[in-house]
């Protein structure tokens, strides 16, 4: 009943919540939000269009990790948690309403399988949940905390920013909470309004010491979540809740990891680089097709996946290509000696080797244009960080200003959601303008 009470206090639409209570088996806000029953004839066209701002594109079936099973995103999360509890006897999962399976069903069956001392409800208090999780991790056990919606992570901001992120540094590495992972449903959901829609990653991106990870689908979700849990740093794992049921694909049953701080190029292209994460990746894929069909523009789609530390790989495997391209561009643009000198100094200092986001740079060096898109508001959003860094490092290659297509600088609205989100048409229009720049 605790869970139901919470839907009433937090549910955006009480009519849906009541339906949830009556039907019992679907008594979760998640089910109410995501399961659009065809029998609900009162739904207007607006609501349907609202929920479908993207088309989910399954990942290829991973062959290298053994048998796979068809899973949606919430099931792949359960699978990752199941693998963890099975292999790590210290691991515990806790949060609001996780014991009965969670309001989004991510922990269904785990308490029965592993015991109530390992999968348990906490009091309704986010700062307590994260503080408690830090403590579990400090004592050496594996802590997997759930915040019911990313919107409600802010009461725990102090514990995350001042405590979790700084534990190792401030103690000179005597103590740490590296075994802590915080999971939270994230992103827009069609009608979640102000407090069931937020994308707070940029608030945390300004905080050295934590990792922030966002998957685009079930395969990535399981592999990245297992990486977060195994990682020796506190991680925040944001799960795009609109994909919990919408995204279905073959997912390996056994544990596997997808490396953190590595962006992935999902589609090669030569004219524009599109960078996004989470659900927005699927918008980008569609936009790339539209650009190809309508404009003949070839887009490269990059899933950032890890927001912090973003695209960390510094092996510089593209260094030679990069330098060669940069050299060519210098020659082609007939740069004066000052620029050449400047360039050489930077190389001599080894700056080139320090490039993070090799793939993005590599991509932007190749395409000369960059569009970054996220659901979160534009001002102070993470696109600003990417944009500024790419501008610094790829100045000579950019053919047009870097463009950000993001949420507006307003709270996330209820009935205006279709106008608020950075949908494919807004992104498409931005590409058109970039090409014509």
């Amino acid at each position: 009943m605790a869970a139901v009470a919470r839907f009433f206090s937090r549910g955006a639409n009480s009519k849906l919540s009541i339906t949830g209570v009556v039907t019992g088996a679907h008594s979760s806000f998640a089910a109410s939000l995501l399961k659009l029953s065809p029998s609900c004839s009162f739904r207007s066209k607006t609501q349907r269009r609202n929920a479908a701002h993207f088309i989910y594109q399954p990942d290829p079936v991973p062959a290298q990790y053994g048998p796979t099973q068809k899973m949606n995103l919430f099931q792949s999360v359960t699978s990752a948690l199941d693998n963890t509890l099975a292999n790590d006897p210290t691991a515990v999962i806790f949060g609001e309403d996780v014991a009965f399976g969670g309001v989004f069903r991510c922990t269904v069956g785990l308490r029965d399988k592993y015991g109530k001392d390992r999968v348990f409800n906490t009091p309704l208090c986010e700062q307590g949940i994260v503080g408690f999780g830090i403590g579990v991790a400090v004592a050496g056990a594996t802590a997997i905390a759930e915040i019911q919606f990313a919107d409600y992570i802010f009461p725990a901001f102090d514990q995350i920013v001042n405590e979790a992120a700084k534990y190792r540094y401030r103690s000179g590495n005597m103590f740490d909470c590296g075994n802590l992972t915080i999971r939270a449903p994230w992103g827009c959901v069609g009608h979640g309004s102000l407090y069931h829609s937020q994308s707070p990653e940029a608030f945390f991106a300004h905080c050295p010491g934590i990792k922030i990870v966002i998957p685009r689908g079930p395969v990535q979700a399981k592999g990245l979540l297992l990486s977060c849990i195994a990682d020796k740093n506190p991680c925040i794992f944001f799960e795009p809740k609109i994909l919990y049921r919408a995204a279905v694909e073959q997912v390996p049953v056994e544990p596997y990891t997808v490396p953190l701080s590595q962006a992935e190029i999902l589609q090669e292209g030569s004219d524009v680089t599109l960078v996004a994460w989470g659900t927005q990746i699927h918008v980008m894929r569609e936009v790339a097709n539209m650009a190809q069909d309508k404009l003949g523009v070839s887009c490269e789609v990059v899933d950032l996946q890890t927001i912090l530390p973003w695209d960390i790989e510094t092996v510089c495997k593209h260094e030679e290509t990069f330098l060669w391209t940069l050299w060519l561009s210098l020659v082609l643009h007939k740069q004066d000696s000052f620029h050449s000198w400047n360039f050489k100094v930077k190389m001599g200092d080894g700056l080139v080797c320090g490039f993070e986001g090799t793939e993005i740079y590599d991509s932007v060096v190749k395409t000369g244009r960059l569009l970054i898109s996220h659901e979160a508001p534009v001002t102070g959003g993470f696109a600003a960080e990417i944009s500024s860094t790419v501008q610094e490092e790829c100045f000579l290659n950019l053919e047009a200003p870097i463009t950000r297509v993001c949420g507006y600088d307003t709270p996330f609205p209820h009935i205006f959601e279709p106008f608020y989100i950075p949908d494919k048409w807004k992104c498409f229009d931005a590409i058109k303008r970039m090409i014509n720049y």
Binding site: G24, F100, C125, I134, G135, V138, R170, G172, I242, T314
Partner: protein, 429 residues
């Protein structure tokens, strides 16, 4: 499109399993009984209107073992500690006091940047620390240096932390008095108040699952108890049945804020029962009362897996910190009363003198000796170089991440060119 996405068979099956389990867990429900059936509380009906009065005039009594002259008041409560143990208590309390005086003065002279003394609260530290097992994990606020002192933290390391020199275990990153020791199970102090309280609950939960006969103790002031994190920690530890001792130092002030601006209930101890927590209030200037309460709380916390709350009443004799002049908000007479007439150190000294365990000569010799030891550590710490500036960049993450590494290299390049503008000679190379 979402509307076309049908839940898979797996999820239907999971839902069915869930419903079954939910049914099995439901309590028997008899609607014919004429008594309250509300799930939120177990109580009888009452047919007259009456608000519950808080009892703040005659609050929870203060447990005391010895009076201000060091006399045991009730022999059944005498912990009957050996002479050796009591002398150790006294020497640790006075050594802490000596270190406080020297480091306080050193801050006044600008030799360290900040300091916080423990004047008047030495008894709470030593009494509680002595009642614990050395393996018990300690979470503190910042005014519990005596716990470390009792556990044998070397003076050199206290000083190294305050001077942030190359010997500091914390690598010179935090302000003075933010001690920590992995070896002594003392979790590194941080400035944000009360954040350690729910963390202690989590650690206690993990410790309970290890089943190794350990508890966690968590210290905080009465001001910190107003933070939301205190509420979180109390409630979590009770509902999740954690072997944890909450130790509140109620010293009457949070910087300048007196307790009547901090709360209106009967102090902190009175909140414990509201969380379903066994609670007690003790005389914090009575090291034996603190010892007894902590000892029994520890015994029961381990045996019963439940939290205990100890509120130690005391008085903050010193300024809040070296950045504070407490005469701006309280009278010198008030401070003098506690310093001269009701001090944990003098009380224990009376107790020892009455037994012939401590003489004026012993006192003189010990004062001289402890001062010498502290001064030696002090001078040594002051001469030591600061840590290599490279340590500014490590431990942000477990691994060195490329962007931070790049920033480190950028600082080195910068220093090569502008070294004369930086105090490089004070740092290790």
């Amino acid at each position: 499109m979402l509307s076309k996405n049908k839940p898979s068979i797996v999820s239907f099956r999971a839902a069915a399993v869930f419903s079954l389990h939910a049914l099995h867990r439901q309590q028997p429900f008899d609607s014919t009984l004429e008594k309250p059936q509300f799930p939120g509380a177990s109580a009888e009906f009452v047919d007259h209107l009456e608000f519950i009065q808080p009892n703040v005039i005659s609050g929870i009594p203060v447990y005391r073992v010895m009076d201000r002259q060091g006399n045991i008041m009730n022999p059944s409560q005498d912990p009957q500690l050996s002479k050796e143990t009591v002398l150790n208590f006294y020497q640790k309390m006075t050594l802490l006091n000596t270190m406080d005086r020297i480091l306080y003065e050193s801050q006044r002279q600008g030799r360290i940047s900040f300091y916080m003394t423990n004047y008047g609260e030495e008894g709470t530290h030593i009494g509680s620390a002595a009642a614990l097992d050395p393996n018990d994990l300690v979470f503190g606020q910042y005014r519990e240096a005596g716990v470390l002192m009792y556990r044998g933290f070397p003076l050199d390391l206290f000083m190294a932390q305050c001077y942030a020199n190359a010997d500091d275990l914390g690598k010179g990153r935090q302000m003075p008095v933010h001690y920590g020791s992995k070896d002594l199970n003392f979790v590194t102090i941080s400035s944000p108040l009360a954040t350690q309280i729910p963390q202690a609950a989590g650690a206690a939960y993990a410790v309970k699952r290890e089943n190794l006969n350990r508890v966690v103790i968590c210290y905080f002031g009465e001001g910190a108890a107003s933070e939301g994190d205190a509420h979180a920690g109390f409630n979590f530890s009770a509902t999740l049945e954690c072997p944890l001792i909450f130790f509140c130092r109620n010293n009457g002030y949070a910087i300048s804020t007196p307790t009547n601006e901090q709360y209106r209930g009967d102090g902190i101890a009175a909140r414990g029962p509201g969380y379903g927590m066994l609670s007690i209030r003790v005389d914090g200037n009575d090291v034996f009362a603190v010892y007894n309460a902590t000892k029994e709380a520890r015994r029961r916390a381990v045996a019963e897996n439940q939290p205990f709350l100890i509120e130690a009443m005391t008085y903050r004799i010193g300024h809040h910190s070296t950045s504070d002049d407490s005469s701006a908000y309280r009278s010198v007479d008030e401070v003098n009363y506690w310093d001269k007439q009701d001090h944990p150190i003098s009380r224990l000294r009376h107790y020892m003198a009455a037994r012939g365990w401590w003489s004026e000569d012993d006192e003189r010799i010990w004062r001289k000796q402890s001062r010498k030891t502290v001064m030696e550590a002090f001078e040594k710490a002051e001469k030591r170089l600061k840590p290599n500036p490279e340590l500014l960049f490590t431990d942000v993450y477990e691994e060195m991440i490329p962007s931070v590494n790049k920033q480190k290299e950028s600082l080195w390049r910068h220093l090569q060119q502008y070294k004369e503008h930086y105090p490089l000679d004070l740092y290790e190379k």
